[in-house]
Subunit: 298 residues, 2 copies
């Protein structure tokens, strides 16, 4: 949970609520509760943001508030294609001292989403769980592949599903071919692999099978920040709600996650996510069905 | 119909049969006959290649053979990502004097595919048809947008469907957003627009509707030459076979075209296309169904 300052071709915001856990929780809260949050913030983090998420079923016993500290701050500028961005500022602030403690009240957690962070911290969270969760999703990025590959590989060995973008999958798998890279990554531990391709949709790999989900073609992507975390939140929230982690359910989960992400990018930060109704989500999912549905005649 | 010399990360061939019409005819011949060819070649073009296509139902009254001329020759080198290529040699040869004459025996043609060529030549073909065909598909490329935009716009006004790749759609529509570019292009004439995205599949636009087709994730793309023409040939061949040009049929046509293209790239040139059986095509189409099929549970 953090602050972001964002600049896109459509406008700019100086300081807005962000962070993987924020986006994922807003998305997941449409499908399941409670959502047990684990994060660290400074005394500067707005109490009303926490209250709003509590209202949606999030719990915050696992939130470390450092009263005299400052929350993580990231500032970035997106280019016109929205696939590339420049990081302008990264202030770790309280995140530098993050040592998550999992409360006893979280021990019944069956669906775990580990946001993009140092693999050592992700491993520490899993090690604190007394019972193996039903599903552990790991998010990561190229940065950790560059500076903490050994720990990342250890984390991969503990996860059921890895979520990365296509360039990260190529880097981690050491193969240009996405299919070959996926095989190498699956051999590192995660049975399931989700490769996010932005405007080109997402791929799900499981054993020898592949599912390809479209992205909704949008007139404008206003702000892509948090789209990946929103996707993950929708995905895991849906799976938790139906209580099933089969390949078939994950396919549907990816469509749900994609629908949530397609809303996320319509406004700055999590603004659009906060407004969504069940009918909005249902309509968007129907658009995905129409988008990808076909019938072959003889 | 032409010769290509190709170099990919997987190997190289010095002189192989190529050309839009060749690929499109091989693909379409799995679905429909006759296929009336219009092209120009030199005396160097192998008679056995023409005979092989005749065996598949292609007719060649519209083929201009210039005995003492040389066939069009293109040579190119693909990079590892297979999305970018360098043209090494373009010898127009007899293509420089191409002035297609449509034989009377072709006048009943209902499904017309205009391969990528000077828009003036594409227009000339359409002007020679006494009856408006049921479906006119236009292929083009950035080159014609740069040097013959006015003629291209005239050709667009005569076509039902334009087939281009994503960067060409952006250039022609003058918009970075694919959705906005599609609207601009549709306003130029073609009711239907197919945007090919290579390894990311294809999009079909019609009125306010969009269909997104996946690409089959492949371990290796051996040689992408002709994949777009193969896609077009499979697409139009399927539509001609079922005799319908509705949006629903076109969605299926795009899956068929994608299946054909996924085979094309497995070997150099049209080699793989020539080997295909009906069972091969059926199996590949089933893979596309499995790839994109999902069901949302409540």
């Amino acid at each position: 949970m953090a602050f972001d300052a964002l600049e896109t071709p459509f406008g700019k915001v100086d300081r807005i609520i962000g962070g993987s856990a924020t986006y994922a929780a807003w998305a997941a809260s449409n499908f399941i509760k409670p959502i047990h949050m684990v994060s660290i913030v400074g005394g500067d983090f707005p109490k009303e943001e926490i209250a709003a998420l509590e209202e949606r079923g999030a719990t915050f016993e696992g939130l470390d508030v450092v009263p005299d500290g400052k929350s993580f701050f990231w500032s970035g500028r997106y280019h016109l294609d929205m696939n590339t961005r420049d990081t302008l500022v990264t202030d770790l602030n309280v995140l530098a001292q993050f040592d998550p403690k999992i409360p006893d009240s979280y021990q019944d957690c069956e669906y775990v989403m580990l946001g993009n962070l140092a693999p050592a911290i992700q491993i520490s969270v899993l090690n604190q769980l007394k019972k193996r969760p039903k599903l552990v999703i790991l998010d990561t990025m190229n940065f950790w592949m560059d500076i903490a590959l050994d720990e990342l590989k250890q984390a991969l060995g503990m996860a059921d599903l890895l979520m990365v973008n296509d360039s990260e999958a190529r880097q981690l798998g050491g193969e240009h071919s996405i299919v070959k890279a996926a095989k190498k990554i699956q051999a590192m531990g995660p049975k399931y692999l989700v490769i996010k391709k932005g405007e080109h949709g997402a791929l799900l790999f499981y054993e020898g099978k592949i599912f390809s989900a479209p992205a909704l073609p949008l007139e404008d992507v206003f702000d892509p920040t948090g789209a990946g975390d929103t996707f993950a939140g929708g995905f895991i929230g849906y799976l938790a709600r139906i209580g099933d982690t089969s390949f078939e359910s994950m396919k549907a989960g990816i469509i749900i996650g994609s629908a949530m992400a397609s809303y996320c990018v319509e406004k700055f930060g999590p603004t659009r996510l906060k407004e969504l109704t069940a009918a909005d989500i249902d309509n968007r999912v129907k658009e995905f069905v129409a988008l990808s549905n076909f019938e072959i005649r003889e």
